[in-house]
Symmetry: C2
Subunit: 249 residues, 2 copies
């Protein structure tokens, strides 16, 4: 598991920090990365401020195998991600011929003006490769280990198709989950022992409070499917011993 | 606006990074802080790893007026937040008499064992004050400018009642939002000019793609209600000029 590639996500946008928008891109990316065996280690959200973006990009790209950013690559004044990335890498930025041609064709086809603000979306840091956007054409880009994607969730997700083949994959971390209407505190000791016996498996305990009553979900993650099944049996036994009827999720 | 207190959120939990759980606590906290005039500047998510938690806590508490953490204060082995916070501050941690008594009473009342794992929830860093938990009793705590809260959303929200009176408030940042079925690129130039004319107002542009068609939401934020209204009229005019029928949200 230690050899698995690692990743961070940087979400860029005032609308997340103001609470107006619930970020769903991080969760979509987390679910995209897990089956590829890429270990997501950190998520950050910063506002539309160049200095903040540069600092976060440089901290995260140095530390993890991959950094994925979402947000701030549209045509308006608050879209400053591409420039911030160029500055973070200390490279120039200019209109990218392929991106420019694709956008020009798109707007011509729709009879809309390819005005200077729209042309901004073709400004790509020098040395970057484009990430295809089948939804609205304006591309994302990859610069070294940083993948820069749109903030609109449907566009971000569409870009992942072009991102997936570029990633090194690791051993896939499987998961088993079991739940029962049992108090977390009644199984905590046995759970700690089970965790000690299986240090390569990460066991998480998540209490829930539902209208019909409380209970706990137990989740075990690891790369060895056999060991996961052993742990799953242990989780079942713990929940049953505490008087629950374990349900595999 | 510059004198407003600032804040960061640190979400602690493997379940967010694995994609199994969609974090909603950050959004709830963002919506809690906005009307208090506390400016949320950054959100981070890290896993259940002590070193990661300590590093993030120390980076964020030094930089912002307040830090709010959620997650990792339950009775199970993966609940390591209280110890990590104590280490981040370089203080000891011990059973807190008031927390211990409240938990003991709670479990006695329910006829449940107040076992050693449950007693862990009364371990509080030395010098911290408790944050009341009316839902499940196990308290959060405040140590200097750091507020440590539960990860279960209903419990986290309930703790905010006890947190709110402890916060210094700033000028409330108001918001106006307008939308229309207009292409973002058609209003981008006018929008940039409007932003230049009102540097104290932050104008954001958020395209949407819905089954019935695309459009854009424009959001202006600022502390001066009169200026916000002026900007709102400007946003309306831009959208109307581009052929849209602006709708105030």
């Amino acid at each position: 598991m230690t050899a698995n590639p690692t990743a961070a996500i940087l979400v860029i946008g005032n609308e997340i920090l103001s609470g107006r928008t619930q970020d769903t891109n991080s969760n979509a990316l987390a679910r995209f990365l897990a089956p590829l065996g890429v270990a997501l280690k950190e998520i950050r959200v910063v506002g539309d401020e160049e200095g903040e973006i540069i600092a976060a990009v440089n901290a995260l790209r140095a530390r993890y195998t991959y950094l994925f950013t979402t947000g701030g690559i549209g045509p308006t004044h608050d879209d400053i991600t591409a420039d911030a990335i160029a500055k973070a890498f200390g490279v120039g930025i200019d209109l990218h011929p392929e991106a420019f041609a694709a956008l020009a064709a798109r707007y011509a086809e729709r009879g809309e003006a390819f005005n200077p603000m729209r042309q901004r979306m073709a400004r790509i840091p020098l040395g970057a490769s484009l990430i295809r956007n089948p939804v609205s054409i304006a591309p994302g880009f990859q610069l070294e280990n940083v993948f820069v994607m749109a903030g609109v969730p449907s566009v971000m997700k569409a870009m992942l198709e072009d991102v997936a083949p570029r990633l090194r994959r690791g051993a896939v971390v499987g998961a088993v989950a079991v739940e029962a209407a049992v108090a977390e505190g009644d199984i905590a000791e046995g759970l700690a022992l089970l965790q000690q016996e299986h240090p390569k498996v990460a066991i998480g305990s998540y209490p829930y409070y539902r209208p019909e009553g409380y209970g706990v979900q137990l989740v075990a993650r690891g790369t060895d499917a056999n060991e996961l099944e052993t742990v799953a049996l242990g989780l079942n036994a713990l929940l049953a011993k505490a008087g629950g009827t374990p349900k595999r999720l």
